[in-house]
C-alpha cells in the first residue's frame, strides 16, 4: 500500500518533503512520551492546506491510516502513527497570517509555535493566553488537538476558550472552515468539539485565536510552608476568599530539592512545600489581592514569603517551577509523569494517599502541580533498583485515586495511546459510544489517527462501498456493536 502511496504524496508535496529513509523515519517514532514508539511507514511535510488535503485524499484512496503531528511535544503518544501509517507533520506551516488587534484575533498556521503568537501580539499590547510549559516549541495546531492548558489556565482558560475558528482538512480530504472567528457562528459548535479531539477528527490547517490584553500589573509571590498540607490549606483559603489568581502552583520537598540542585532557584530553605501564586489584572486590584494572599499564606503557616519586584525576580521564582520535570530527571534514573485531576478540596486527601503509597512501595514520588485547578503531576521516580512494572502500577494507582475522588485521568496531556485503558474507568460504555458517534460523523472510515483515546473503536456503519457482513473486529470478538 505504502509503495503505491509514495508517488502520489510526492506529487503533492515534492520529493524533498517526503521521508522514506528508515533512519530518518526513526526520528519520528515517538512524541514527548518516549515509552510508546512506532515508526511510521512514511512521513510527509506539506506546506499548505491544499497539500495536506492532497495527502489525506491519497491516504484515503489507498486505505492507509494517517496521523497529524505538530512539534512532537505531546505527552500521551497522541502523534504516533501506526507502522503502516503516514505521519503528516505540520512544522513547515508556520506563517502568522494576520494579527487584528482591534478584533483581538490572530490567524495562524498550525506549525506556528505557541510563544510566537504572543510575541507577534506583544507590540499591540496583547498575548495568547494558553501557555503550556512547552510553549517555546509546541505548535498551536498541537495545542488545538490537545486542548492544551498551562500554568495560567486557572484564570485565563484553556485552548478551547481561545479558539474561534478552524480551517481543517476532514478525514475525507476536504478543506472546511469550522466557525467564522467571531466566536458566535451559527450551528453546532464544531470548533469546540474539534478542539481537544487529539487529532482524530481531522487535521487543522489554519486557526483563529483570541488575543488577551496584557495585564497592567502582575505580581508573583513565593511562599514556603512546612508541609503540603499547609500549602493546600492556603490554596483553599485563597479560593474561598474569592480571589482568582492567574496561577497557583505547588511543589513538594522532593521536587524542590531537585529544582534546587538543577537551577539553584533559592527557594526557602527547609520548605516541605512551596507555593507560587501569580496575580494579574488592573494595578489596584492586584495590589489588594496580593496583600490578601500574603495574609492568607501567613495565617496558613507560611514561614517565608517573597514577592517578585520585577520581571527578573519573577523569572527566578518561575525557574524553579518550570525546571521541575527536567530537574527530577537528574535525581532519578528515569521517571513517569502523571497527569491526573482531583477536585481542589480533595488535594490534601489525595496527596496523603500518594505519600502513603510511595512509602508502602518504596518508590519515590515528587509532586509538582497546578494546585488552583487540582491538576496533579506526580513524578514517579525510577531508581536503578526500582521495578518498572511496580512504578507503572503506582502511576496507575494514582489515576484510580483521581477517579475515586471524582476527578479526571488527564487534565492537559490527553489520552492518546497512553491512557486508553483508563477511559472505561472514567466513562461507561454508552458514554464512550456516544463520544465516538462524533468520530463516526467526521471519520467513518476510522483512518484519522486510529487507536487513540478510545480502547474499543466504534463501528460507524454505512461507509459507502464498504463491507456488508459482520465487521471483522466483531467477528474476532475485539469490538462491540453498541
Amino acid at each position: 500500500m505504502i509503495d503505491t502511496l509514495i508517488p502520489a504524496v510526492t506529487k503533492v508535496c515534492g520529493a524533498q518533503h517526503v521521508i522514506t529513509d528508515p533512519a530518518e523515519l526513526r526520528t519520528y517514532e515517538c512524541d514527548g512520551l518516549t515509552s510508546h514508539r512506532s515508526v511510521p511507514a512514511l512521513v510527509v511535510l506539506p506546506e499548505t492546506a491544499e497539500q495536506v488535503a492532497g495527502v489525506v485524499r491519497a491516504c484515503v484512496a489507498a486505505g492507509v491510516p494517517f496521523v497529524a503531528r505538530g512539534s512532537g511535544t505531546g505527552l500521551s503518544g497522541g502523534a504516533l502513527a501506526p507502522g503502516n501509517g503516514v505521519l503528516i507533520v505540520t512544522s513547515r506551516m508556520r506563517t502568522i497570517l494576520e494579527i487584528d488587534p482591534a478584533a483581538r484575533r490572530a490567524v495562524v498556521e498550525p506549525g506556528v509555535t505557541n510563544l510566537a503568537v504572543s510575541q507577534a501580539a506583544q507590540p499591540f499590547g496583547y498575548f495568547y493566553a494558553p501557555d503550556p510549559s512547552s510553549q517555546v516549541i509546541c505548535s498551536v495546531g498541537g495545542n488545538v488537538a490537545e486542548n492544551s492548558g498551562g500554568a495560567h489556565c486557572l484564570k485565563h482558560g484553556f485552548t478551547v476558550n481561545h479558539v474561534t475558528g478552524l480551517e481543517v482538512v476532514t478525514p475525507d480530504g476536504e478543506i472546511v472552515w469550522l466557525g467564522d472567528g467571531s466566536g458566535a457562528a451559527p450551528g453546532y459548535d464544531l470548533v469546540g468539539a474539534f478542539t481537544g479531539s487529539e487529532g482524530t477528527l481531522g487535521i487543522v490547517t489554519k486557526i483563529v485565536v483570541r488575543l488577551t490584553r496584557i495585564p497592567a500589573a502582575v505580581t508573583t509571590l513565593l511562599a514556603g510552608f512546612g508541609t503540603t498540607g499547609e500549602g493546600g490549606a492556603a490554596v483553599s483559603a485563597i479560593i474561598a476568599a474569592g480571589i482568582m489568581p492567574a496561577a497557583i502552583e505547588m511543589m513538594d520537598a522532593l521536587s524542590i530539592e531537585a529544582a534546587e540542585a538543577a537551577v539553584h532557584c533559592n527557594y526557602p530553605a527547609g520548605a516541605g512545600a512551596v507555593l507560587v501564586v501569580e496575580l494579574d489584572g488592573p494595578e489596584a486590584d492586584v495590589e489588594a489581592e496580593t496583600a490578601a494572599v500574603r495574609r492568607i499564606c501567613t495565617d496558613a503557616g507560611a514561614f517565608e514569603i517573597r514577592i517578585a519586584a520585577d520581571p527578573a525576580e519573577r523569572a527566578v521564582i518561575w525557574a524553579g517551577r518550570k525546571s521541575a520535570f527536567a530537574a527530577v530527571g537528574r535525581i532519578a534514573h528515569a521517571y513517569i509523569v502523571q497527569d491526573g485531576v482531583v477536585p481542589r478540596t480533595a488535594l490534601e486527601d489525595v496527596l496523603d494517599r500518594i505519600a502513603q503509597m510511595s512509602a508502602e512501595t518504596g518508590i519515590r514520588v515528587a509532586n509538582v502541580f497546578h494546585a488552583g485547578d487540582g491538576n496533579l503531576h506526580p513524578l514517579v521516580l525510577l531508581d536503578p533498583d526500582t521495578d518498572p512494572a511496580a512504578a507503572e502500577e503506582l502511576s496507575g494507582a494514582i489515576l484510580d485515586l483521581c477517579i475515586e475522588h471524582g476527578g479526571s485521568i488527564t487534565g492537559e496531556h490527553g489520552v492518546g495511546v497512553d491512557k486508553t485503558r483508563y477511559m472505561p474507568k472514567m466513562f461507561g460504555p454508552v458514554d464512550l459510544d456516544t463520544m465516538q458517534m462524533l468520530r463516526c460523523a467526521f471519520d467513518p472510515r476510522g483512518l484519522c489517527n486510529p487507536g487513540k483515546i478510545y480502547p474499543t473503536p466504534r463501528l460507524c456503519g454505512e461507509v459507502p462501498g464498504l463491507r456488508r457482513g459482520p465487521h471483522p473486529l466483531v467477528a474476532a470478538g475485539q469490538a462491540d456493536l453498541l
Binding site: P186, A284, G374, K419
Partner: protein, 508 residues
Amino acid sequence: MTSQPAAGGRAGPPPGEGAAAGAGMAAGAGTAAAAGRGAEGTAADADRGAGGGTGADADRGADEGTAADADGGAGGGRGADAGRAADALAAACADLRPAGPADAVAGVLPSWVAAPASVAEAAATMRVAAGLDLAVVPRGSGSRLSWGLPPRSCDLVIETGRLDRVLEHAAGDWIASVQAGVSLDQLADVLGEAGQQLSLDVPAPAGAGGGTVGGVLATGMAGPRRMRYGTPRDLLTGITVIRADGRVARAGGKVVKNVAGYDLGKLYAGSFGTLGLIAEATFRLHPVPAASGYVTLECGTAAEAAAAVAAAVESPLAAAAVEIDRLAPGAPVRVAVLVEGSPAGVPQRVTGMRELLGDGAVVADDVPGWWGHGAAAASDSTLIRIAFWSSALRAVLDVLDSAALAAALEPSVGGSPGAGVLYAAVDSLAEPAAVAAFVAALRAEIGRVRAAGFPPARGSVVVLNAPPLVRGAVDMWGPVPGAALMRAVKDQFDPGHRMAPGRFAGGI
C-alpha cells in the same frame, strides 16, 4: 466489555426500513402517534402497566397540519392506535398530559407533554418515544421555544420543569451540578449564599426570569458579561444527556480541567434540542465580584460609539462588559461599561474609564435601566443576532443604518460589541418583505465571503425569532460554515431525525 441491548432500544430499523416507513407516513393522514412497529418496540415498557393514563386524544394530533418529515420518518403518523402510544408514554412518565394550544412549538402543536421528574424517567420517556418514532422537542421554561425554525413535526414535548434539583454545589471547588430544569434565578439564589455565581447574565424581558439551565444551554445564550466569562460552552465542565434513542450518556466531569474524551458539552451547547435532551449539567463558577461600577456615555454618531467601545474594550482597565443600545437608526447610541473587581480597585478603574471615554462620560453606581433589557430581550419582535469581528463594529453599525433606511425599518439595536455580538429587534408588524430585504442587506456586508479569506466570512446574521409571516419570507439561519459536517453529526446522534427536526441551522 460486552454489549447489551437496552430495554426498549430496539427502535432503530435499518435505514431503508425507516425511510420506507417515513414515506408511508407522509402519504398517510395526520400525525396521530403510534404504529404497530413502534408499539411493538416498547412492549416491555407498556407491560409495566399504564399508570396515570391520561387519555391522550388521538384525534387531537390529526389536524395539526404538521408537515411530515419525509426524510427521517418522524411524525409518528401511521394512523394506528394513539391510545396505545399514550399508554406506553404514560407508563414511562407519570406526568403525561395531552398538549394544549399553549404547548405549540412555533405554531406546531404536539400531541402530548411529558414532565419527567428524574433522569431515569426522562430516559424511559425518550426510549418510548424512540420506539414509537415520535418527534420530540425538549422544553425548559419555554421562553425561547419559538426561536429557530418551526419543527417539521412535533408529537411530544418533554418539559424539564420537574428536573429541578441543584444536585451539588461544591463551593470549595467552584463547581455546581444541576438538573436541566433548574431556573437560573433559583441557581443564583443557591450560589449567592456562598458568594458565587454562574457567570451568565442572560438578557430577559423585564419581569421574566432568565429561563432554565437546560434552555440557556440549548440556545447558547449569554449576556453582557460574555466578554469576560464567555458563553455557556465556556462555563460547562460536564453534561448528562439523553440520546435520541433514550440512552443516558455523560461527558466531561466535575473538575474544571479535564481533557479525557470528546467534550460533548460543546456539541450540545447551542444545539437547540436537535441532538437529544440535556438532563444535567456541571458548571464552573466564579466569585460574585466584591465591587462593581458603570460608566455611561451617550454618543451622537455610530463612529463616536465605535471609538468609545474600542477604547473601553482595549483598555487594561479590564472592563467586564461593554454594551451599547440604540432605540432607532439615527438615535443617539448609549454606551455603558461595567467594571468589576475589588473594593479597592474598582473606584480607581471607574474613574480611569470615565477619563478614557472623555467628555460626557459619567460614573453610575447602578446598572443602567436598559442594561440587559435592550434589543436582545425583545420578546415579540423579529429578533436578529449579528456576530462579527469586533474590529468591524463601525461597519456593522453603518450597514445597520443603511439597510434599515433602504427597507424603511426602524430596528432597535443593542448588545455586546466588545464580544462581537449585537441584536436588532424589528417591529413585529413590519412587512415581511422589508424584513427579508433588511436581513439580506446585512448578510451581504457582515457575512460577505472573501475569496481566499481566512476565514472566508467573518460574521453571521441569524434571525432567532420572528412572526410566522416573516419566517416564511426569510432564511432564518443563513449560511452556516461546516454545514455538511453538522448534518453528519445529526445523522449520527439522531438517525431518525426525531429531535426537534428542522428547527436548527441548515434544516437540521
